[in-house]
């Protein structure tokens, strides 16, 4: 819907031209929105195909011989050739590509060179753990980051803003792994406030029957409240570590957008109408909403699979840790599966972002 400059309301012309037909506007908007959903969904297979192809090619041109990695440096040429042929590495690239894509289309990502397990099973096992970690970390980081960012943006240039900027600079200066180690040192080693950073459940706890592969959800489904408490307790440090890295990003984008909004005509008008300062901040956050959501999606995409070091430090058994192991071991099918899954997650998150932004802003034209 575009704005119109004709002042039809004042002319003696029929009143129906007064607006750009808002009566039919709402259903039309809704229809256009679902059209956008369909269009974006249709785009997913195409993008996924590109990710599969690129990941296949990139991994194929990686230096190093997986057969050598499996056998070790003492193997003779005969043995290496045998293993290469077992892995199918002696066949031409094009043939391997067709076989691989054909497999992926049927949900078969091949088997790990090392464990022999189907890659699909490994992903199903490790991805939910990473998603749980990232979702908890992003929720925490968003809560803290948006709060202090709003405070700083609202009080721009004054003492609270300066304090927040110091906090942001401090958090940015600490690398994630160091923060993790320091937190373990303080909270586990010195103060014994949290359990040891060795996995998600204590030794005494029994893993719940697998339903969703999401440990927290499975524990709730099993009604194992002790286990849930233990898991949440063990989640505190890794979630905090990951959140500490994301807090400055949330705080900065919020500070900038809210600060900019505070100087806008819209906020000045809201104040001129006598709206309370709470309402004024709410209006400013409404303006800041889209950039913050965009950042959240980008962070989510980067963190699933990108939190390998944190997962390793805390033995989280997540996708990042698994992917890192695969890369070190030259486990080609695992690396390819890792790239495809993280790429797919990113695509999904961006899709959701686009749809949420489109649904939230009445000005965006769909289609």
């Amino acid at each position: 819907m575009s704005t119109t400059n004709t002042e039809a309301g004042d002319a003696p012309s029929p009143a129906s031209t007064e607006l750009m037909a808002p009566a039919v506007g709402a259903p039309r908007r809704r229809r256009a929105f679902w059209g956008l959903v369909a269009k974006r969904l249709a785009f997913i297979p195409l993008a996924l195909f590109a990710v599969i192809t690129i990941s296949f090619l990139l991994v194929s041109i990686m230096p190093g011989d997986p057969a050598l990695a499996i056998l070790g440096s003492t193997a003779n040429e005969q043995e290496v050739a045998t293993v290469r042929s077992q892995l199918g590495l002696d066949r031409p690239l094009a043939e391997r590509y067709v076989t691989y894509v054909g497999g992926v289309l049927q949900g078969d990502f091949g088997r790990s060179f090392f464990t022999g397990q189907p890659i699909r099973d490994e992903i199903v096992k490790y991805l939910p753990a990473s998603i749980e970690l990232v979702v908890m970390a992003i929720l925490l980081a968003a809560l803290v980051g948006i709060s202090i960012g709003t405070l700083a943006g609202y009080c721009r240039g004054r003492a609270p803003d300066k304090a927040v900027r110091v906090v942001i600079a401090g958090l940015e200066a600490i690398p994630g792994f160091l923060a993790g180690l320091l937190l373990i040192f303080a909270f586990f080693y010195l103060w014994r406030l949290v359990p040891s950073p060795t996995g998600r459940l204590g030794i005494v706890n029994i893993y719940p029957p697998t339903v969703t592969h999401f440990l927290l959800i499975d524990l709730i489904l099993a009604g194992d409240w002790n286990g849930l408490r233990s898991t949440l307790h063990r989640s505190m440090l890794p979630v905090l570590t990951l959140a500490l890295a994301a807090i400055p990003l949330f705080a900065k984008i919020t500070r900038t957008t809210v600060g900019g909004a505070m100087g806008s005509k819209q906020i000045q008008y809201a104040r001129a109408c006598g709206l309370s300062e709470w309402r004024v901040v709410q209006y400013a956050l409404l303006q800041a909403r889209t950039p913050i959501l965009t950042y959240t999606a980008m962070l989510f995409g980067a963190m699933v699979g990108g939190s390998a070091i944190i997962e390793t430090i805390f033995s989280w058994q997540g996708l990042g840790q698994w992917g890192l192991k695969a890369i070190v071991a030259l486990d080609i099918p695992a690396i390819q599966g890792f790239v495809i899954v993280t790429g797919f997650c990113t695509m999904l998150v961006y899709l959701v972002l686009d749809l949420v932004v489109a649904a939230l802003d009445p000005r965006i034209q769909h289609g």
Partner: protein, 325 residues
């Protein structure tokens, strides 16, 4: 209700140093009076209004002055109390309705927010009143407008909505900051007719900021001419337009385009206001400059009943009339 502004001074801290935006502004808006403040861009009109309404951003401070509204000083008032006056007792009409209205909230929500900032009313009652008010401002399908968003409206319609919001709580004073500059020329007159009619009907006072002398001539009772954050001349519109006393007012009136005549312009530009200004601020562009103008700031003095001017000249004798010029 009447508004009495005395000696307002407002400064801003900027990266380029301190800017003295408003340097002792005084004027009155009487009961039922429509007053226009005119001046070039940068003459401090908007800053004056924002100072009175407590809308100065954090980089600015009001260093002196009072603004008495219904017996209370708006400048000295706590911001919480001033907030309750804004929107309820003083209605505000913004320059650009699309910049002012919230783009992502339905207009019905915006009416609710404004009313609820001041009164305890339920949603139904607010809606009823909003529909009635939208009818008053000439919107034919208020239901549709109320359930839609700002961007679905034309410029004139959106400004009507802003006017309706300003009048929702029946304020005794309406402040309009260049209410038609953002609109098409064809719509400007309709909007101004509407505002002035509504204000006069209700016997309310109004302060209009504009750089358009035509607006002042057609709609205002009194005019306040501002330059560099000071009042140069203040008087009844008819008299000031017939016989301006201040050389700046004269120059302004001469620069109004007239059919068949060459356009007279005023050379030079606004002086920088980085330091506490001394002397007459118009002196660099004034054809009647005297030695005293450099040294002494001319006070705003009453030269005849209801007419004030800040100039060292014996204005009635020495400033030529508009026709003779």
């Amino acid at each position: 209700m009447s508004l009495h502004v005395r000696d307002i001074e407002t400064r801003f801290r900027t990266t380029a140093g301190e800017v003295h935006a408003v340097n002792g502004v005084s004027f009155d808006v009487g009961d039922g009076e429509l007053v226009g403040i005119v001046g070039e861009s940068g003459s401090g009109k908007s800053v004056t209004i924002n100072s009175i309404l407590g809308l100065i951003r954090t980089s600015g401070t009001i260093t002196s002055g009072t603004a008495t509204f219904g017996g209370r000083d708006l400048i000295a008032m706590r911001s919480r109390d001033l907030r309750k006056i804004r929107g309820a007792e003083i209605g505000f009409i913004a320059q650009n309705p699309f910049g002012a209205l919230n783009p992502v909230l339905r207009l019905s929500r915006q009416f609710e927010n404004v009313v609820r900032a001041h009164r305890r009313l339920d949603r139904k009652e607010i809606r009823r009143q909003a529909l009635a008010m939208l009818g008053h401002v000439g919107i034919h399908q208020p239901e549709r407008v109320l359930d839609g968003y700002a961007h679905e409206l034309s410029g004139g319609m959106a400004q009507r909505v802003v006017i309706a919001l300003a009048l929702m709580l029946d304020p005794t004073l309406v402040v309009a900051d260049e209410p038609t500059t953002a609109l098409d020329v064809t719509v400007q007159k309709q909007i101004l007719d509407l505002i002035s009619t509504l204000v006069r009907e209700r016997e309310r006072s109004m302060l209009i900021i504009t750089h358009d002398l035509g607006v002042v001539a057609n709609y205002c009772d009194r005019v306040v001419v501002m330059y560099c954050g000071r009042v140069m001349e203040d008087g009844p519109v008819r008299e000031v337009f017939r016989r301006p006393y201040h050389p700046y007012a004269l120059a302004l009136l001469r620069s109004v385009p007239r059919a068949g005549q060459a356009l007279q312009t005023l050379g030079g530009r606004l002086p920088k206001l980085n330091a506490q200004p001394v002397g007459c601020l118009f002196r660099d562009r004034c054809p009647y400059r005297m030695d005293v103008c450099d040294r002494v700031t001319p006070p705003l003095r009453e030269v005849s009943p209801g007419r004030k001017v800040s100039c060292h000249l014996d204005v009635e004798q020495e400033v030529p009339t508009l026709v003779a010029g």
